[in-house]
Structures are given as C-alpha cells and as structure tokens.
Symmetry: C2
Subunit: 401 residues, 2 copies
C-alpha cells in the first residue's frame, strides 16, 4: 500500500485520564510541527465521540507556552471518552477522517483504544484510503501487552507509594488496621507499587492483595491477625479487582449479599474498603479498623508526577509521529527495557494486533507464594519507573533510664 | 508561685497526626537544648498513655540529622493517642511528672490536648509543685480559639486544594458528578480550602457544603441539578460532618436508615460519599456519579507540605519553650495575623483556658448566603497559609474551520 506523504493529522485521547497522557499529546504535536508533510493538526474533543460529531480544535493555534503548560498537567486536555465503537461507528469515523483529509491518525489510550485504531486501520486498508493509524500507549494499570511498562503507571505508582508512606506513619502513630483500596480491576501492578513505601523493616503495607491471586475472606482475616499479633498494627493494600477462585469480584459479591438482605446498592467507590473493614471487626477483637479508597487522586493528582514517566510519555508521542512520517502505515509505540543493571528504556514500533484487545496481568515472579505480597523482583522492576521518593525520618527511640 | 529554673523536660504529641506536628516537636527540642536550666529531655510514647506507663525515650540522644529528618516527616513521630484523661489519670500523670523531676511539660495537639494540659497545670498549682505546663497548637481542622489559624491546617489545605485541582481536570475530561468527602466534623475550614483549586471560571468545586450550615438532601440535589445544567458536570466538596437543622450528622442518619432495613453497618469512611452519590442517581437522570473520601491522605501525605505551615509549626514549638524558660508558668502559643495586605504571622502566649475544651467554627463572613460555597474573604484568608499551588494548563480550544 502506497502512503500519501501530504495530509492533515488528527489526535485524540481515550479511556481513563493519567498524570502524563498530555505529555504524549504534546510530544506528538511538537514533533508533527517539524514535518512539512503534516498540514493541519486536528484535536478531537472527547476521543472518537468528537470525531463522530466533528468536534475539532485547531492545535496549530496553541502557543508553545500553552502546549507546555498542558503537557505538565494531569488528566486528558482534549477530553476523553469510554466508548467501544461499533463496526458502524468505525465506518463513520473513517468517513469523517476521509472528509477532512486526515492522513495521520493518533489515538492515545490503553488496549481498547489500540483495538479502535486497529479496526479503523483495517477499514482504511480495505477501502484503499491511505492513512497512517497509530496508537500511543497510556494506562496507569500497566497492563499493555508488548510493553515492559506503560506511560501513566510510574506517576500513579509514585502517588500510591507516597500515600502508603504517609498512611504507614499515621498508622504507626495511632495503631490499628488500615486498608487502602487501589485501582486495578484485572492487573495488580498499581496496588503492588504500594510496596515501594517501605523504608524500615516493620513498615507497611504488611499485606498486599492483587486480582491475579484468588482472595478468600478466611485467609485474609488469618493474615491480618498474624500481622497484628507481630506488630500491633496492620497496613493492607488491596486492588479494587480482587476476586474469588471463580473470578467473581469480591466487591460485587458483597454488594449482592447486601442487596438480598436490605435492597442497599453499594456501587460507590468506598464499598469494598468499608466492607473488608467490617469483616475484620466482626471476625477479630481489633476495634480500630479504617479503610481509604484512593479513587481519582491516584490518576489525577498534580505535582506527583514521576520524571521518568513524564519523559517516556513524551517520547512515546514523539516516536509515533516519527514512525508515521518515516512511512510506517500503522502500529503502536511499545516501551522496552534494555538489559543491564542501570535502568534504560527504548522504544519499538509494534503491530496494533500485538497491543489491542487483550491486556496482560502481573507475571507470577512478581507475586509471593502466599499471594499476599510482592517479590523483590517486582521492587527492582518498579523502582526506576517511580523515581525518587520521600525519605521519612524516625527516632532511634533510646529508652530513658 | 515561684518556679524552679532547673529541671527535666517532657514533650508529647496527641490527637490526629498532621503533616507538620513533628516540626513543632523538633522546634521545641532544638530550642530546649539552648537553655541550660533544661536538663533531660523526655519524649513520651503515645502521649499521656506513655506518661501513665512511664514509656519514655531520651530525646537528647537523637542526632541533629535524625531530628531534622523527623521534622520534615508527616505524622506524630512520638506516637499519639486519643485519650481524654479522667481526674484520676491527671493525678497519676502529675505524680509521674513529679517522680521524674519534670519541670517543663509540653503537649502538642488540639483543644482536647490543651484541656489536658490545663487540668494537669491546675493539679500542679494546687499541690504547689512548680512546673511549666505548655500547650503547642496543632490541628488540621483549624478550629482552635484565640488563633488566626493552626499548624497543620495549611498543609492539609494544600493537599485538599491539589486533590480538587486534579479531580477537576479529571471530571472535565470525563464529565459527570464527583463528590469529595473531606475531614472536619464540626469546622468546615479544610473542606472550604477546596475552593483554592479554582483557576478558570468553570473550575470546580462548584458546590461546597460545610458543617456550619444545615444540610438538606432536597436542596443539595437542586443545587447539583442547576450546576449540571450549566456546565454539564458538577464537582462537590463536602465535610464529613455535614448535619441537618437539628445538628444530626447526615452520615449517621443514613447509617441508621440502612440499619433498620437490612442490619447493614456503614461505619467505614466511604459511606457518606457513596450514599450522597446514590441520592443523586436516584433523584436525577445523571448516571455518572462518583465519590472519593480523602481519609488519612489529607493529614499524612508526604511531600505536600506548605512551607508557611512547616515554618509556623516550628516557631510555635520554639516559642513555647522560650515562654516557659522566660518564667511563664503555663499557657499556649497562639498564631495571630498582623493587619495589612501582606501576610505576616506573629505569636502570643495565651492562657490555657482560652484554647482548651471548646473549639471554634468558620465565621459566617467566610460562607456564602446560600450555604453552598465560600466567600472571597475566605480565599484571601486561606491562600497565604497554603502557599504556591500547581498551575494547570488548558488549551484555548480554537475550533477547526
């Protein structure tokens, strides 16, 4: 297939916001400006919804200062959307791209976003319309295939690690059980990052539960009791997506139980934490049990951005435009890790089919045998992505004679 | 009453941790080292519980490096306690102080802590034992009488403002209704600080509900509908302590309702947010409604400390020791604000009775008439306490022709 070198470009953002998705956006825009074959630069508002409604802004009209201010701000500056397009939608999108002379299409997001790009690219191929279709990776879940890690994860992980560090100090000062509920429906990477909060041997999180390992209330309460006996306190990090042996989410199970008793809907974000706390109170003699659900903070908190993450997100956007301008008709930019002791990332164009649809889970080498903690291998994997963390001080506590 | 100049010192921390309570602690220790009449420096572990159990550490044995690392760490490094001592406890505490030759007693905390110091001081006066009893202010609630503001508030307010800034960007990208539940059972200062997140005219929080104004679900839903109609989204900041006309906490009311239906305990921290979200879903046609409860993060998140707050907390600790060493037998250090356009704080020794027991609420000049927002006067009051905040970027969004 021959590709036209001259044409307009369209870029959009999709799925959950992250702290560095705007770096990828601005990286792509700044790179596009260097290529004379790219004419107008369209930004679609709210992803493909904006494409379908032809709701476009002119990104060439934004000043350097604005672009850089946007780059360092969390969330999706073009707006985002959670929409899986139907085949009919994809056909319509393709028609809109055609109508506006779009020859370069970039869509930033996770595996579902990659799937959308994949379908649109197939549609274009079938019709013979020459367009470069590229996916730019983003997900705090860190679950994209073909990638060592994904932009957005490092910053969210930094927030989670800092949060646990603070909660650990709080819990040490005012002992009890504390549960932190962290994002991740199918992949536990972000919850696992809570382990980076540990500085001293008795620091929490003392227990980490991930969607990759079956969760039972009985074992959970047993684990909590053992930690509480040892330290007089217990810090727990739990993924929102923890599920039982049959893959049924614990949050959903609890919710159903309550429904059948009293018709109470517990669809809010605090439900899982509150109900795990309730189980501990009911099954142990521990009275001080608290739960916090991090919610949007972990993906949108400003001033908590990992430098490495921001830089890599920027490069991913840049590389996508470079690959398209070099003539590659489609693909995704994957982040790989160079072997060796010192952390070093490199970037590869991969096929859309290798990123699209299916996501990946945490490899078993990152999870301990008991299924209630991470391994040293995970710490070594995650540390360089997060960068420098605060170093809390602690008294030596020499007893007064 | 004549005061002995030579003797040991004891310092302890009480109540909920804050991000800068260790600054006050270290400020007092470093200052004490300058006064030759202060001999041993005792740190009580877990406040007066540590005094009662004679669980003391030797704070003179801590290095400069450790002290400074502790000072810049959140939470209470000596451990804390939520304990209102009985008259018998106070007598026992006084006996322990006497036994260890403590002539200087400093206790860092809120109004309940000041009350404890007050009682112990009275006990000492009655017995004729010469001891300097000082309270050092701390509370993220900002509700201490005789103070313009209190150490801990500025940093917690900075966290809340940053959190709302991020959630606002997130909500703008993926519109819907979002509720942030913020600490404050009786005083709304911290929830009010969410208003500092606003940069652009349409930025949230669009609605702010405080414990100082009666809350009704009917008016709440009406307010949300009006904002949603205007902006297509709505960001709400709500104090955990919002209450009805009779002072009954909304969280408690909801909890009771559910109890009578299905025996469900909703004592966890996520309950109020989830249930307000449920009410909006039930009473409007808005489907995307989310709630986040900030929990411990707002009082213990590291690397989110307000410079002004840290500095003032440190000075408050220093001033308490200075006042005691100058011969003042008891008191609390109050932070006042100098009149004039440029922010300037100064410190005054006040009587324990003027800080102890009762707390203060937000003055009505800080709350709008409708009871769903703060005034410009509040913004001017709070801004200098929080310091520099991130400045999120936004596209000019010039439509593509």
């Amino acid at each position: 297939m021959k590709h036209s070198k001259n044409g307009n470009m369209l870029i959009a953002q999709s799925g959950g916001p992250s702290m560095v998705i705007n770096q990828s956006l601005v990286g792509a825009i700044q790179e596009a400006k260097k290529h004379k074959n790219i004419k107008k630069i369209y930004g679609a508002i709210h992803g493909i919804e904006g494409v379908l409604n032809e709701n476009f802004i002119n990104l060439r009209k934004e000043t350097y200062k604005t672009l850089e201010a946007v780059a360092s701000s969390p969330s999706s500056a073009l707006g985002t959307v959670r929409m899986k397009p139907t085949p009919a939608d994809c056909h319509k999108i393709f028609e809109v791209l055609h109508k506006h002379g779009i020859r370069y299409f970039f869509y930033i997001g996770g595996n579902d976003t990659a799937e959308t790009v994949h379908i649109i690219n197939n549609e274009a191929n079938n019709s013979g319309y020459p367009i470069h279709c590229f996916h730019i990776p983003k997900t705090i879940d860190n679950d994209l295939r073909s990638n060592d890690h994904t932009p957005g994860f490092g910053s969210a992980a930094k927030f989670v690690a800092c949060a646990l560090m603070g909660i650990n100090l709080d819990n040490r000062a005012l002992p009890g059980v504390h549960i932190s509920v962290i994002m991740g429906r199918h992949a536990g990477f972000l919850t696992a990052a809570s382990a980076l909060a540990r500085v001293y041997p008795d620091d929490g999180p003392h227990l980490i539960y991930l969607p990759e390992k079956p969760f039972t209330i009985t074992q959970f309460v047993k684990d909590v009791k053992a930690v509480y006996k040892k330290y007089g306190r217990c810090l727990i990090a739990v993924s929102e997506g923890i599920a039982d042996r049959n893959g049924v989410a614990i949050a959903a199970k609890f919710s159903k139980e309550v429904d059948s008793h009293g018709n109470v809907q517990l669809s809010g974000t605090g439900a899982l934490g509150d109900l795990l706390a309730k189980e501990i109170k009911a099954r142990t003699s521990i009275s001080r049990v608290r739960a916090d659900t991090f919610g949007y903070l972990q993906r949108s908190f400003p001033a908590m951005i990992s430098d490495v993450d921001a830089k890599e997100a920027r490069i991913a956007g840049t590389k996508a435009v470079q690959a398209a301008c070099k003539g590659s008709s489609s693909g995704s930019i994957a982040i790989k890790r160079a072997p060796g002791k010192t952390y070093k990332a490199y970037y590869e164009r991969v096929d859309l089919k290798d990123v699209a649809r299916h996501s990946k889970e945490m490899p078993s080498k990152f999870i301990n045998k008991a299924g209630n903690d991470v391994t040293k291998a995970f710490i070594e994997y995650a540390k360089p992505l997060v960068g420098k963390l605060p170093a809390p001080g602690r008294f030596k506590e020499i007893k007064m004679k």
